[in-house]
């Protein structure tokens, strides 16, 4: 009995470990959950011409507490083709961006992980170098490169590869170039971290046992770097869905993503409740891949 008692005491009293965890946990609760709860609240409110531009959820009328939850915004978000189109477009852009990033990022991360340590560090600095400049400035720089009389077209015309300037700026091409460029490091970094830990001897063993190079990749390299792939893809996919700046600056008229629609609702239409509903729906959309990621992670931990 006493043993269990002490055990209980041990479990109740704050250990150093729980204190250390409590700090970031509290931070997240305060600065992530609280604003998000406010957004959820707004999504159930009514639009009104006031400051703030939405009605309170609760009110006292003749001594009766009234709680009014307006679900109609969700209805309009889910039925309006503008929103549905924007969601589909967002997911489409995010999926394609993730795929292209993976296509470019995997070989890059692999080569960096396989090069000698001094060159490896140099290459990693190269991958992280863009972060030293503001994101917005880099996207504006791409406008300079991609626009009709921009760097790229001038160069191609000057070298007689083309005679008419390419239309990239304000098209889907511009959008994807900007997206892949911006999100590539987020895929390379976690993938590199996994690949650099991969024991090269395992690949040699596979070759020694008769596996052709591509078979070595499929049966050993890829399965052992799967967690890096999943982590990298989610780090690209999740923010890419809600991306606002790149479609607005580089994309065309058909590049309307959910971030842009929300911007319009918040700032042009001042329809906060609908914008908040759209935001909540997007979070719900993103929870699916995140839940899947958690599940694979758990399964892998159990497997070990």
């Amino acid at each position: 009995m006493t043993k269990y008692f002490f055990h209980l005491i041990d479990r109740i009293k704050p250990s150093g470990r729980s204190v250390v965890i409590a700090v970031p946990f509290g931070f997240m609760l305060l600065f992530l959950m609280a604003p998000f709860l406010a957004v959820i609240k707004i999504s159930f409110a009514d639009l009104r011409m006031a400051i703030p531009p939405y009605s309170p959820l609760t009110s006292w009328v003749d001594g009766v507490l009234q709680i009014k939850l307006d679900f109609s915004h969700y209805g309009s978000v889910l039925s309006d083709s503008l929103y549905l189109g924007a969601y589909v477009k967002s997911v489409e852009v995010a999926v394609l961006t993730t795929f292209v990033c993976l296509l470019i990022g995997y070989p890059t991360a692999y080569l960096i992980a396989r090069s000698n340590p001094t060159r490896r560090n140099l290459l990693m600095i190269g991958v992280m170098l863009p972060f030293w400049t503001s994101y917005l400035i880099r996207i504006y720089a791409w406008i300079g490169i991609l626009k009709e009389r921009g760097l790229l077209n001038s160069l191609l015309i000057w070298s007689h590869i083309i005679d008419q300037p390419l239309r990239i700026y304000h098209t889907n091409w511009g959008l994807y170039i900007g997206m892949v460029y911006s999100y590539l490091p987020y895929l390379i970094l976690p993938l590199y971290a996994h690949l650099v830990k991969l024991d090269f001897k395992l690949l040699e063993a596979a070759r020694d046992l008769g596996a052709k190079p591509w078979k070595v990749f499929v049966t050993v390299t890829l399965p052992l770097s799967r967690r890096g792939v999943v982590a990298g893809c989610l780090l690209v996919f999740i923010p890419a869905v809600g991306e606002y700046v790149i479609p607005a600056l580089l994309g065309g008229a058909d590049s309307l993503m959910i971030g842009g629609v929300m911007w319009d609702d918040f700032f042009n239409n001042a329809d906060w409740p609908v914008a908040a509903s759209a935001a909540c729906a997007m979070v719900a959309l993103l929870l699916i891949p995140m839940a899947w990621f958690q599940r694979t992670k758990m399964m892998e931990l159990e497997g070990k």
Binding site: D199, K201, L202, E204, A205, D208, L209, G210, K212
Partner: protein, 397 residues
């Protein structure tokens, strides 16, 4: 000690140089002549350079079918590079590797009739024991039923049937080693390569595993080349071994032969521990060495007629020296010293004797000998060391 052997040693006493030059060619394989017909695995003039550094420097050797051959040397001597070249994991700078007369040079790793057991086993962590072992057969597209039968058979051989669904990290070091062995045996390679097979095991289970592994390999009858830095491992397991130093093979032979008759100072010192001395062949007498290290003339067993006046090196193993409290009249080879240090080693006691000349000499003394003395030996006590003429091994390099 037969005369043929001493003659061979004398033939190597070449004052002009290293002994590496022979008819203008580098050749290190004095013991085993190159006989193309009978050799299962042949390595001919193999060289591997990494930039300016030469890892393997003109190696020639041959391994007979069914033989367990050990490459022995300290780290960085080129033994692992040599093994990796056999597996195809490194490309030779020049030279040839032949198995049954077939040159492997142009053959990619995955087509070679060799399999390797890696130093840290390199088991695939994401696959079960079964999947690890079956991997090689899957690449060969062996039918599923055949594959399963062969996996069962080889797991039975290494006694790991009960663990077939486990993952590698759920196994002990010894079990992992057996899975690695099963995985490298399942394709029935013509040549099995073992890279430091015992280095990842505890010292205690290492010895037992040496016998187990040896037994399995013998049962299978596969030809093996093993790399090790542990001379005990090479001695217990190998049929023949090659001592390597700085990318070259210093000596090839059966373990007991290399131990008893090392052909150079390096081999003598590397295989077991030994006492190395320097001596000068006397001008007038061809069978006596002047030895400044021992402070006494050393009687040789046979004449060394053509090398008078030259400096030679010789070794006497610690177990070949006897210790006595008084000079033995009958013995011609005797030297005086004082006990400087001793250590109880279990089956024997290791004495360090400081000779009058200042040279420190190791002597293994058995318990029986110590018992025969009328008192327990103490530090600084004067003692006499004596040895038979046939305990000496002479070399010129």
């Amino acid at each position: 000690m037969d005369n043929a052997l001493s003659d061979k040693r004398h033939a190597q006493l070449d004052p002009s140089g290293s002994g590496h030059s022979f008819n203008g060619l580098k050749q290190f394989e004095q013991q085993v002549p190159r006989d193309a017909g009978a050799d299962f695995v042949q390595i001919v003039d193999l060289v591997k350079k990494f930039g300016d550094a030469t890892a393997v420097d003109v190696v020639n050797l041959s391994v007979a079918k069914g033989e367990l051959f050990a490459l022995l040397g300290s780290s960085g001597c080129g033994k692992s590079t040599l093994l990796r070249m056999m597996a195809g994991l490194e490309t030779p700078t020049s030279g040839r590797i032949l198995i049954e007369g077939q040159d492997l040079a142009q053959m990619p790793v995955h087509r070679r009739p060799t399999n390797m057991m890696f130093q840290s086993y390199a088991l695939f962590p994401h696959m079960s024991v079964e999947a690890n072992v079956a991997y090689g057969l899957k690449q060969e597209r062996v039918r599923k039923t055949d594959r399963e039968a062969r996996v069962s058979e080889v797991l039975e051989l290494v006694q790991m049937t009960a663990y077939r669904t486990r993952k590698p990290h759920q196994l002990s070091g010894g079990q992992q080693q057996r899975v690695a062995l099963a995985r490298s045996l399942i394709k029935r390679p013509k040549l099995l390569l073992l890279d430091e097979p015992m280095s990842a095991l505890d010292k205690k289970i290492r010895q037992q595993t040496q016998f187990e592994l040896g037994n399995i390999l013998q049962k299978v009858g596969v030809t093996c080349v093993m790399v090790t830095h542990d001379q005990d491992e090479a001695m217990t397991m190998a049929d023949r071994l090659a001592v390597m130093n700085q990318g070259r093979i210093v000596q090839i032979g059966a373990p007991e032969k290399v131990y008893e008759f090392p052909n150079c100072r390096f081999a003598a010192d590397f295989i077991g521990s030994t006492n190395l001395f320097e001596g000068r062949l006397m001008e007038d007498e061809s069978s006596v060495l002047e030895c400044a290290d021992l402070g006494t003339p050393v009687q040789l067993q046979s004449n060394v007629s053509d090398k008078q006046g030259t400096t030679v090196h010789f070794s006497i193993r610690p177990e070949r020296l006897s210790i006595s409290l008084h000079p033995i009249e009958s013995s011609t080879n005797i030297a005086e010293g004082r006990i400087e240090e001793y250590a109880y080693m279990g089956s024997y006691t290791l004495f360090y004797i400081r000779m009058r000349t200042g040279k420190l000499v190791m002597v293994n003394v058995s318990r029986m000998t110590l018992k025969a003395f009328d008192h327990a030996l103490a530090y600084s006590e004067p003692v006499y060391l004596s040895w038979d003429s046939d305990s000496l091994v002479i070399f010129d390099r």
